[in-house]
Amino acid sequence: MPANPSEDRVREIIADHVALEGPLLPIFHALQAEYGHVPQLAVPVIAEVLNLGRAEVHGVMSFYHDFRKEPAGKHVVKICRAEACQSVGGDAISERAMKLLGVDWHGTTKNGNVTLEPVFCLGLCACAPAAMVDGKVVGRVDAAKLDRILAEVGA
């Protein structure tokens, strides 16, 4: 992941999507895929290219839970908080994760390795509780499985 976003590269990414109908979300996604977050230096550039106000670009970005202004930890662990997961002990898994990581939701561990995010349903409700680790799905998470996951990501 390139550490320092350059305006040139940001312009390239925007240019790749500008012909789409409604290009803004695809642009945010592409920037986040490249940098792990949406670098704030991109906001005025997007505003200029798409002919929008900066406030509007900010407003759209902040509406969506997915887009981050700041880089996340090296690994992102998402744990499902929705009903089907709750029905089989999901809350206890969330609490255990927070305790082991020493963070609350959206927090990043002190060593910078793990960010913990809540998610509302991963479509794995028949093999709940569910989690996602860097985009990889995990089902039937119990305490032992959680501990293994957290150890693997260097919590």
Binding site: L20, E21, G22, P23, L24, L25, P26, F28, H29, L50, G59, V60, F63, Y64, H65, D66, F67, A82, E83, A84, C85, Q86, S87, V88, V119, F120, C121, L122, G123, L124, C125, A126, C127, A128, A130, M132, G135, K136, V137, V138, G139, R140
Partner: protein, 511 residues
Amino acid sequence: MSMKIYVPRDAAAKALGADEVAAAVKAEAAKRGMDVTVVRNGSRGMVWLEPLVEVEGAAGRMGFGPVDAADVAGLFEAGFGAHRLALGLTEEIPFFKSQTRLTFQRCGVIDPLSLGDYEAHGGLVGLRRALEMTGPQIVAEVTESGLRGRGGAGFPTGIKWKTVADAKADQKYIVVNADEGDSATFADRMIMEGDPFTLIEGMIIAGIAVGATKGYVYIRSEYPDAVEVMHRAVNNGRALGLLGASVLGSGHVFDVEVRVGAGAYVCGEETSLLNSLEGKRGVVRAKPPLPALQGFLGKPTVVNNVISLATVPVIMEKGAAFYKDFGLGRSRGTIPLQIAGNVKFGGLYETAFGLTLGDIVDKIGGGTASGRPVKAVQVGGPLGAYFPRALFDTPFGYEEFAGKDGLVGHAGLTVFDDTADMLKMARFAMEFCAIESCGKCTPCRIGAVRGVETVDRIAAGDPSAMPVLKDLCNTMKFGSLCALGGFTPYPVMSAVTHFPDDFARSKEAAE
């Protein structure tokens, strides 16, 4: 001849180790010098048996499951015959055999990315028939089938299409709602991962019917596997002339683009979804104008749920009368039930409307996974009501559930055992609404936050809080612009009504 081994690529199978199993199968075959082709199929929907590995036998596909990577060598050793994990013929497993698989007829059977496989199993028959018909004839056929929107509202699909078809415009769109945010639902995900061409075929038929040449599939970002399969299927479809300047050489133009959401539940509401697709904040638009007349970029737009559109090919293949023959009352055809939560046999079960809730939960689902008594079943996701055992005789149908102050929604069912605390579930419903509110109207934005506080007061033993909660629910129900604020009272009030004991907390108990 090469031996075919099926290891699902479905996200639920992967979440239970299917990728590791597929790798182990390849490694073991190589070690034994065997010529094995691993097919990454969709899921058959029996999630408690995933990863469900299948091999072609003389009488049909033989299933083994749930398979762990560590079991693979043993399965080879047994020649995929007698083995502790052997399930016999997959299609003879009672959970599978008793279904009526129309929309999901190919899901789990074929290689999802092979258009050849798709055609060999009845795919494109519906489209070819549609290509011989006029737009109004297709619309009439879909109307006649009785198909209603599977996204939740249950609006007749044919009538929606007619509005778009009759609108005059230089450009119209088909937008697929694949935001599937409801807990306990995964039918959209399963069909996109297991039989994506069914959805694409349904979109093309819709396009021809209403005169639209462009389709979008808006998939939630929580579904990276579905996004990947849909992208690849669209590319394959384009390369093989199914999509593009001339659909199957017919001269009809139709292309599809896959878009990814960004973690907002409300973007499943159709107008919020359209705003999101346009690159705006996902706030709900006031209706009118209807999206059918002024939808994406102000153009006439069909917004349909994945399952609504994925059901169109079978309707066109077998005819409206065939489809309409299944069902109950005004709920025609089949519905993919998604049985989830604390349940023994969890998964997807496609059947005609009309089974009772009790049969679904006790007979098909086999009761709870924990072995404890069933306390409540939430039907229809986070905006759906909690049903107690006393209402288990309710037949599965739109009107039947509405009559019991509930909803069918996207047909997800979450089973809870007797350890569930319904006050906690009511609090969660309010909290979820507060987190996901688009912020446009006060009853939802502020009401949900007040709702959490009020439930907390009830939990603390404050007797004056209950009337406040009821008032609040009333205000939300009648004063909200969309069903997020408007339906959150369903789970809350059903919990209060059917499980009063969980709300009768004395001060001492709470302290």
